[in-house]
Subunit: 572 residues, 2 copies
């Protein structure tokens, strides 16, 4: 036998040079890479009609040094005052820092930075050491009308950290990143907002060694951005972890919060429930830095029992069957799985190809009635007590089989789990060859799931040569989310932007929510007035004015709160 | 053998005469009674040193006709306008209606009404037919500065329906009491706010017959006041049902709400979760009529599977053992029981006596180490899928036994469930002989449970001849509630009031919440500023001013929002 050597583009294998645009664009660990597999490359070549030649010249790599024409727009006396408050080491005004801490991880931002286009940047970067620093900084900025932005891990995918009005950006992950206390009796953890996911989870897992606890704990919150997101970020943006079907979304994990706002500092009470009027603890969740700065949060924690986890994967004959089985599971009143995902036909088929399904298995599946572009993959796990995970798995098996699914062992679920945080690393490689991969997601009720799925897919697929892979990954008895991954070949930012906004509008027109767990930021902001309605927006604006009468907290469009009328969009 | 005939006081056995104070005071169905058992009477005689003679003369029965000196304080033109809006049949200004719809079910109110003391009353009672009526009424009252109060079932235990400023009381239970829609796919029900618990639950149970549904459903919310409370009342006061440990509190059951406020009408979106900023849906929960009027609510519903329920009861050697076992259960990650209750030693012993535990069983328990005034009763059930209820029961059995408990079969749980809604009926009988029975309750974290229990008990028991029975009945991994039942002999309202306020202050001083599920009303209102802190109260006041700039929605102290400084209490 003679095998042609598999083609592999010359992926970048070294960390971006310091001071470059690329070092800002790159996701995650500068020295970590996850290159698209051979299957991926083949798929790109087929879908986009690309040749090996197209994969030989990298474009817009962003290797140029960061340059910033815009001078610092704040008076030196303000910056001196910041130095007084936090110490000189914790204040930076150099161009690189100013750009780095002004950018999140939207595709649009990375496309522009690679071209050397820099938009709004902060004037000064400040790393507060503790909540007292934050208090002093907020008081000073409020007195002097200086805009304040918060940056923690910077994985925002909606321009949530964009300093639209300049001013100061506080970086909370530099110092305010500790697990302060584990309360084992109440099963809660008191955490600083800038603590990264892995450090938090690791500290909870090692509670006996670190805190003298009797048990090991888990935070229960594992978004794809887990490694490059923080506890505070999860809370203020209403994030969801991949195991949210069991543990709940970030909002469900919060017991109490402490905020510093221009109007004052407060900590909500630490009861698991109370009937003492509307809860300020709830009002602050999802406020995305517009009301004040989260400086401490008490979170629910859970017993860490990885030995009890049970994995599963299934192939369904159709999307409809997968959805129906999932609904039956979520409404079955026997407990919930932790991770639970169903992929639509396009995602399933691409996934099976990408992860190298042997052709004999494919033939077997087809013979059994699981046909390409119809069949749907389902995978997940169950966490908790060992007998509980056994029971829930048995129930899931039974329901899936009753809906025509074939059990594929726990292998796919385990394999998926291993790489679940590294997918974002592929973006750099693909962008090096002019390919954009991005995601948008919406909440759906069961009775409107198919309409949103079909409508948004129709819009995405109406652009020639555009891939669209969809899954549902956060489940409730009343509905789920739809997560659309779209892949297109373009380096034209304007074209990308307008297409991407079209997808948002399509989600909205078809009755999905503006976001299920990515938040609003400035990307969804123009739609907020129409989405929530004038009455509800005015409630949020009223609260905003109360906390921040001078409009210094994350100003310039965030949540749509201070967006001028002419920038609001009406699409329905 | 010669047995003395058991003494039984001459309990009232007929419905109150129409038009009397007693007809307003009496709880529940006018023709239904549940008299204290012989055990109860014996207990009262022992505890309060009462003789049979003391149980022969009824006092302050409230059989006098309602009289009202206070004339209607609203211009006739306003009342004419109300008649225009809702029709003449739906407007009442007679003294009886004005008193009836101005009163809730606090002990204080019943003590006063029995004496013929009438406090704040509404000027006119209006029964809106639908949400359009509510809208017209709110608009008119807002334009004319007429205070508005809402009455649904009137089971408030904190003066939540007290029309402190006169004006108009809307009765929502007269017409706006329908189940509008069951969405079987989403498992939600769209309900009018004035629907009573039993009508709602019955319609859900009979979904196949009434709505052509495939399955039967349950609402999952069963407060003690179930028969005389409404869906809207549950939501706006943040109530909890007896099965909340599994189904969640009222706040957890709400998917979306529609409100009419002076500032506008809106309906929140119907997604099970979304990351679109702070949720107005949450802000409205617990607003107790101060922001606007709830006119429609979409609630989660659950599969109704009574055939799968499993009951249990245990006796623990001590309160500490009962608490520790309960915590272990709630943190065990194997699913939650639905009803779950633990009684402290005083409640346990009185309960065992009252429900007639045979003396041989008592001797047996003592021999086994379950001693009076130490042992604690635990009872409950598990609901859901049959295999799930089996598993959870097995786990509970194991944990309870490991904490020294003896299993007492499911009998006590079933027996308790049968009479769980009728306990409030005893109040009238006891009051006829000058005995007051009342309750107060607080949320507690596990690590502060004993402090609150001991501190509040100490305060209650420091009054000579006062019974105090305590249980925990709503559980979370992070804590539970404490429900204090106190029984005292007095007809002196001032003495009662000051003692009862002392209990509230004791709960607060010991670190409990102001309320776990009874709400705030006007009773807890004076403590709200200190309890929440000035910063959080100001947030609520800001929202209040936004929705209700003219201060017409439930004015006069509700939630403490418009309480003058001099009426706010500082106890810490």
């Amino acid at each position: 036998m003679f095998r042609r050597k598999k083609f592999s583009p010359d992926w970048t294998e070294k960390a971006p040079s310091s001071g470059t645009m690329r070092s800002i664009v790159k996701y995650g660990n500068p020295n970590a890479f996850k290159h698209p597999s051979h299957g991926w490359v083949t798929m790109m070549m087929e879908e986009f009609g690309m040749s090996r030649g197209d994969f030989s010249r990298k474009i817009e790599e962003g290797n140029q040094k960061v340059e910033l024409a815009k001078p610092v727009g704040l008076d030196a006396r303000h910056i001196d005052r910041f130095r007084d408050i936090v110490g000189s080491d914790n204040v930076a005004c150099d161009p690189y820092s100013r750009v780095k801490y002004s950018y999140g991880k939207t595709t649009e931002e990375s496309m522009e930075l690679r071209k050397g286009i820099v938009r709004d940047v902060t004037d000064v970067v400040v790393h507060p050491r503790d909540k007292q620093d934050v208090k002093s900084l907020v008081a000073y900025c409020n007195d002097n009308g200086i805009p304040m932005y918060v940056f923690a891990a910077g994985s925002s995918v909606n321009f949530g950290v964009r300093p639209a009005k300049g001013g100061v950006t506080l970086v909370l992950s530099t110092h305010m990143n500790k697990l302060l206390e584990i309360n084992e009796t109440n099963q809660t953890a008191r955490v600083q907002p800038g603590m990264y996911g892995p450090a938090y989870e690791n500290a909870l897992n090692r509670a006996p060694e670190l805190f003298g606890a009797k048990r090991r704990y888990t935070c229960g919150h594992f978004p794809q951005s887990f490694e490059y997101s923080t506890v505070g970020g999860w809370v203020v943006t209403l994030g969801s972890g991949q195991a949210s079907t069991y543990y709940g979304d970030a909002r469900d994990l919060v017991i109490s919060q402490e905020y510093v706002t221009p109007t004052g500092t407060f900590r909500t009470r630490e009861f698991p429930a109370a009937a003492t009027g509307p809860k300020v603890n709830d009002i602050m969740k999802g406020s995305e830095g517009t009301f004040g700065i989260l400086v401490e949060v008490t979170m629910k924690i859970y017993r860490f029992m990885p030995e009890n986890r049970r994995y599963f994967s299934f192939i369904f004959p159709s999307w409809k069957a997968a959805v129906n089985a999932s609904r039956e599971i979520m409404q079955g009143e026997f407990g919930m799985p932790a991770i639970y995902r169903i992929s639509d036909p396009e995602e399933t088929d691409r996934g099976l190809k990408l992860y190298g399904m042997p052709s004999f298995l494919d033939r077997y599946l087809v013979r059994k009635g699981y046909r390409p572009m119809e069949r749907c993959l389902c995978l997940g796990n169950i966490e908790g007590d060992g007998d509980y995970t056994k029971l829930v798995k048995k129930k899931i098996m039974k329901i899936c089989k009753a809906h025509g699914a074939m059990y594929l062992t726990g292998y796919a679920g385990k394999k998926w789990e291993k790489t679940r945080y590294t997918e974002p690393y592929m973006r750099e490689d693909l962008q090096d060859y002019g390919i954009q991969i991005d995601t948008l997601e919406a909440s759906v009720t069961w009775d409107n799931l198919h309409k949103v799925h079909e409508g948004v897919r129709y819009f995405i697929k109406s652009r020639p040569g555009t891939m669209c892979m969809t899954h549902a990954s956060h489940f409730y008895p009343q509905g789920t989310n739809l997560y659309f991954i779209f892949i297109m070949k373009t380096t034209n930012v304007e074209e990308f932007r307008s297409f991407q906004r079209g997808i948002i509008e399509s989600m909205m027109k078809n009755g999905g929510s503006l976001s299920h767990h990515h938040g609003v930021g400035r990307m969804m902001a123009p739609y907020m007035d129409e989405y929530l309605g004038a009455e509800q927006m005015e409630v949020l604006r009223t609260i905003k004015r109360h906390f921040d009468p001078n409009g210094i907290m994350n100003p310039g469009g965030q949540l749509g709160l201070d967006l001028p009328e002419e920038e609001r969009k009406h699409v329905l």
